[in-house]
Symmetry: C2
Subunit: 91 residues, 2 copies
DNA sequence: ATATTATTTAGACAGATATCTAAATGTCAT
DNA sequence: ATGACATTTAGATATCTGTCTAAATAATAT
């Protein structure tokens, strides 16, 4: 997925909150959903966008699906920002 | 402006391109606009969103309005990302 | 004063997005 | 096999967003 997809994924506050939740480690879709007022379907939709953007990774275990952070894409984003002060090229 | 505003401002590819343009130094609204296919009005709208988000700063000089980067907000964003790998709190 | 140039503001509109409810899929226990 | 649980998918809808043209504001030059 392009860096544009990563940006779009992170433009929504709920999705950024999900990312911050996952800083502490992997969590099931239901547990993630429990932290928000939105329906499970809505959170599932957000998770799918984060997954498409490669910001998170999912792993099935029986009834549950666990999600965790993919830090390598996050490093790419840091690169975009740091280059702003260094005058490098991007995208 | 909140960090949410910064995120929204950067979620649009044209606005990110504007930011990258300004890496090389300050530039008038017209010169910025000349780099894009959109109308002046559209670019002006993008500039106003970037300004509200404190990502850029404007300065009037006669007929022209010059825009330049505000790097301190960019540093805030870098902080958001780097904390993801360090497990700190945000927002 | 009038015209020209630079830029923004206002209003309209098509397309994108976040959300919901309801239905579908998949897994486990009985 | 049936029922309960976990999660996703489908379809609908209201709101948000990027874009346009046209009009407004502001500065300069003739």
């Amino acid at each position: 997925m392009s860096i544009a997809g990563t940006w779009k994924a992170l433009s929504d506050p709920t999705r950024r909150d999900i990312i911050e939740l996952l800083k502490s480690g992997k969590m099931s879709a239901g547990d993630i959903s429990a932290h928000f007022n939105s329906s499970n379907a809505t959170i599932s939709h957000h998770l799918s966008i984060l997954k498409q953007a490669d910001l998170i990774h999912d792993e099935k275990d029986g009834k549950y699906i666990y999600y965790d952070l993919n830090t390598s894409v996050i490093d790419e984003m840091i690169g975009w920002f740091t280059s702003l002060s260094k005058g490098e090229e991007n995208e």
